[in-house]
Amino acid sequence: MSNNLQTFTKGLVKENPILVLLLGCCPTLATTTSAINGMSMGLATTFVLLLSNIFISLLKGFIPDKVRIPCFIVVIASFVTVVQLVMQAFVPDIYETLGLFIPLIVVNCIVLGRAEAFASKNPVWPSLLDGLGMGLGFTFALTLLGCIREFLGNGSIFGFGILPETAKILVFILPPGAFICLGFVIAIVNKLKKESH
């Protein structure tokens, strides 16, 4: 049981895909212009990660070793198409904002990385926990970055205005702010990691 718990929690903190492993940078930088965008992107990725981990773990006995990567990509791409169509139907506004980055979940290194490194070697239950943990870790990092950028650039968090109009620093919701924000967040994480050792 403690082993399962560890599988689940390692994605949240110790092996957080963005803050520690630096995987999947493109959606991290592009979709975190506001907290809500970051969170939607994170949840969409979590869904794909969870289902692809489960299915790849179920199929691992049938997939020949030589063609495993194309097989994984087909499984992942199918779920991405599902997410794409569902979002288009039920939350068209968010789908519009996230745009290209929903289909691009296919080439997100985290999803393929977990399929290759974990789901293809482990039974269903741990793979499910691993996918969920990694996905939530990703969502957490994206939401955090979205909050920081929205707060600095737009003076609000999740759409609730906090800072007055004059205190906004527009550059933080523009592309350069994404790089600079992520840089500082990772620097802080590095610092905390060193202190905890």
Binding site: A77, P103, V106, P176, F179, I186
Partner: protein
């Protein structure tokens, strides 16, 4: 003139890395040395152009007539993966010297989101070049030029960034900033510089 506008806007104004955020992983991963940056840049120009050409044709003559446009994502990623593999095999056979120069970067390109991103953009997004003209999808020629521009923009950003990073290695940043954080902040400052191009086309 139209082609010039496409090239200018993709290389400088809407630079693939600094304003569209595609292909950040190889951008951070292969920018430690100028020589690797050059190799990666060349490989991306090659594959991106070819991939866009093939996916555009697939979309126009296979997916659209059969009304299975929703399969774009699956179809494109498979085409790109197969294409990269094929390019690798062909290069190995006909030009070993080019293969040794680009070889190590080719497999990495399959997961470069710029390739899938551009393939999807040119078949879904509508552009208007001249003011007043109705927005429309790109034709084959325009799509290929668009891909070339994006790839040149990628190579340009990568090479500039690698040059800066080589110098940063000689500096002593604060301990926590070492490595990725300082690289990201550098990229941020470069992105600020590229924002200066906004409005030229």
């Amino acid at each position: 003139m139209k082609y010039l506008i496409i090239i200018l806007s993709t290389v400088l104004v809407n630079n693939v890395i600094f304003s569209q955020f595609l292909g950040i992983c190889p951008f951070l991963g292969t920018s430690k040395k100028t020589s690797t940056a050059l190799g990666m840049g060349a490989a991306v120009i090659f594959v991106l152009t070819l991939a866009t050409l093939v996916t555009w044709l697939t979309n126009e003559y296979i997916l659209q007539p059969l009304h299975i446009g929703f399969l774009q994502t699956i179809a494109f990623i498979l085409i790109i993966a197969a294409l990269v593999q094929m390019v690798e095999i062909i290069l190995k056979k006909i030009s070993p010297s080019l293969y040794t120069a680009l070889g190590v970067f080719l497999p990495l390109i399959t997961t470069n989101c710029a390739v899938l991103g551009v393939s999807l953009t040119v078949v879904t997004k509508e552009f208007a070049f001249v003011e007043g003209e109705a927005a429309r999808l790109l034709s084959l020629g325009e799509s290929v030029i668009y891909a070339v521009g994006i790839a040149i923009g990628f190579a340009l950003a990568l090479i500039i960034f690698a040059g800066v990073r080589e110098h940063i290695d000689l500096m002593e940043p604060p301990k926590g900033m070492k490595g990725t954080p300082i690289a990201l902040i550098t990229a941020g400052i470069l992105a600020l510089a590229f924002m200066g191009f906004t409005g030229i086309v």
